[in-house]
């Protein structure tokens, strides 16, 4: 072990062990800043503060998520990117002692008002979690869970939803002959695509993804990323990622967070090639985080 270490020269500032600035893949269907400016604002956060008990996790966040675009939240651990993501479908409600100030708008309407039905909100804002969490049921029952709890009983319609959503999630071909098998028998990558299919089955407009590929191997990650490219024509996607290469590959807009504050947000291409803030530059070149 020690011998291997010794053959490496001491790292210097010029020879940093972290990866270089992420490359933008020109072959991907990236939206330009102009296109994004023309898109409607799907989700808007204004002056958002968020607290876990006494601890403030988000400070004065104002952010615009354009429709049919992929917005990536990047930043070091504990920077608040997941917290902000969970504000959008109010999953933080499930944690005791949390408090939110400011406003989150979906299609121009507040999602925190007293009249807002959180169940309805979560149908419109689907979520995919970091660790795939299929229910211990069949593949079919996993996909149709959302429609089922919403009251859909028609077997034919449920089947049609399952087929369409599994198709969207690029999983149909692999599972169409074993829809009644346990979802837990699928591989990790398949389980995560199943969770995406399940989220799509409630027919959401926004899809939140909390590090959806962090527990997956490179091949499965690539599949999920291709899937995101395809899904953004139909859905507005917000993805939290630790992986800057991934943010650069899949997103149209990137927001960089640090210590609960939004440091910089802009078109991904701009942000990665020409960041305006020094902190952003230091983070994306791997000098910290």
């Amino acid at each position: 072990m020690a011998d291997v270490m010794n053959t490496n020269p001491t790292p210097t500032a010029n020879d940093h062990p972290r990866a270089p600035t992420p490359k933008i893949d020109e072959n991907r269907p990236v939206r330009s800043a102009d296109e994004m400016a023309r898109s409607a604002s799907k989700v808007v956060a204004t002056a958002l503060d968020f607290y876990y008990g006494d601890k403030q996790a988000l400070f004065d966040i104002s952010l615009n998520v354009p429709e049919h675009c992929v917005t990536a939240f990047i930043g070091p651990s504990g920077c608040g990117k997941s917290t902000l993501l969970r504000c959008i479908n109010r999953m933080n409600d499930m944690i005791e002692g949390t408090r939110l100030e400011g406003e989150v708008l979906l299609d121009g309407r507040s999602i925190h008002g007293p009249k807002v039905d959180v169940v309805e909100l979560r149908k419109r804002v689907g979520m995919v979690f970091q660790k795939s969490n299929p229910f211990p049921k069949s593949i079919f029952e996993n996909v149709v869970y959302g429609p089922r709890v919403a009251g859909e009983r028609n077997k034919a319609r449920l089947y049609e939803i399952a087929e369409r959503c599994l198709e969207y999630a690029a999983l149909w071909g692999e599972v169409k002959d074993r829809l009644n098998d346990s979802a837990l028998a699928l591989s990790g990558g398949q389980q995560q695509r199943l969770c995406i299919a399940r989220a799509l089955a409630t027919d959401p407009q926004v899809l939140l993804m909390d590090e959806p590929a962090s527990a997956l191997d490179p091949a499965s990650t690539a599949r999920i990323e291709d899937l995101i490219d395809e899904l953004k024509d139909r859905y507005t996607i917000v993805i939290v990622t630790h992986n800057m290469q991934q943010a650069a590959r899949v997103s149209d807009q990137t927001a960089f967070f640090y210590q609960g504050r939004l440091v910089e947000v802009g078109a991904t291409k701009e942000l990665f090639t020409n960041p305006t803030e020094k902190q952003t530059e230091e983070y994306i070149t791997g000098r910290f985080g």
Binding site: M91, R122, K131
Partner: protein
């Protein structure tokens, strides 16, 4: 890395540690052997005494003054009634309380107080519940010493067990399942009914079966509420006189005639057999339905 200079010292130290280690393992093993020997001896003596008395007439006859004609039918019926009704009463109450505590109350002080009390109630001697049952069900609610009163009293005895086992089972369902369900637009009720309860059902059922075993084996509450050891008929409804196997065994064992003591041993074997069957059922349920669910 061990050096070669202080060889003798470290070796001696190592030997001593190893000796202590094996001494500890040895004494733990001895304790186990002692327990098994005592239990095994007890079982062997009961089988020796009671085996010859096991017969169809034992199960189908009622009590009698004549040991050769005496049977346990009424007590067996009473026990089955009581165990069944206790399960019927304690499952909705216990599971409901557990769901409320685990899924609806946060980390409040009230919950801590309730939790502490339930844990303490699980340790209250069953005779105390028996006296409560006598005062409340038999006298105040005027049920008399019926199977219904006995079942309600047994429900009090086993309720803490059912609640604690159900809470444990509910807690073993990962939070990610609840989150996934909520994120798909399910209400709290739908999440509990469609995800949390099915996933925790094996654990809950195991707890229930163990609780029923306890209800089947308890004699003290039956004594306290005034259940009968001897009856001239086998009870066919919950409003009839309560009886139970443990009570009959207790009664027979106190008889001066040696033949009745042997009958008590036979009764114990029937009771043990029933308990063993129930416990095997618990293990089976756990195995059969538990293995499908791996997180």
């Amino acid at each position: 890395m061990p050096s070669n200079t202080d060889n003798s010292d470290s070796t001696r130290h190592y030997r001593r540690r190893r000796l202590v280690s094996s001494l500890f393992a040895g004494s733990c093993g001895l304790m186990t052997v002692l327990c098994v020997v005592v239990l095994g001896g007890l079982l062997v003596s009961i089988v020796a005494k009671g085996w010859s008395g096991l017969s169809w007439t034992l199960l189908t006859n009622l009590t009698s003054r004549f040991p050769e004609k005496a049977g346990i039918k009424h007590a067996l019926f009473g026990s089955v009634w009581i165990a069944g009704l206790t399960a019927l009463f304690s499952v909705p109450l216990g599971v409901g309380a557990a769901v409320y505590l685990e899924e609806y109350t946060g980390a409040s002080r009230l919950r801590r107080v309730i939790q502490l009390n339930i844990a303490n109630l699980a340790g209250v001697p069953s005779i105390v519940y028996g006296i409560l049952g006598l005062g409340l069900f038999v006298r105040a609610l005027q049920m008399g010493a019926t199977i219904l009163a006995a079942s309600l009293t047994m429900t009090l005895v086993v309720l803490p067990i059912v609640i604690l086992a159900s809470q444990e089972a509910l807690r073993s369902v990962p939070g990610s399942i609840r989150q996934a369900s909520h994120a798909l637009g399910a209400t709290r009720w739908q999440t509990i009914w469609r995800q949390v309860l099915p996933a925790s059902a094996p654990g809950i059922m195991t707890g229930v079966i163990l609780a029923v075993s306890r209800a089947l084996g308890e004699a003290a509450p039956l004594v306290a509420i005034g259940a009968a050891a001897s009856m001239s008929w086998a009870p066919m409804s919950p409003t009839e006189q309560a009886s139970g196997l443990p009570l009959l065994i207790y009664h027979w064992a106190a008889e001066p005639k040696e033949e009745f003591k042997d009958l008590a041993a036979s009764g114990i074997l029937v009771l043990l057999g029933t308990l063993l069957l129930l416990n095997a059922g618990a293990v089976f349920v756990r195995y059969r339905y538990g293995k499908r669910i791996k997180w």
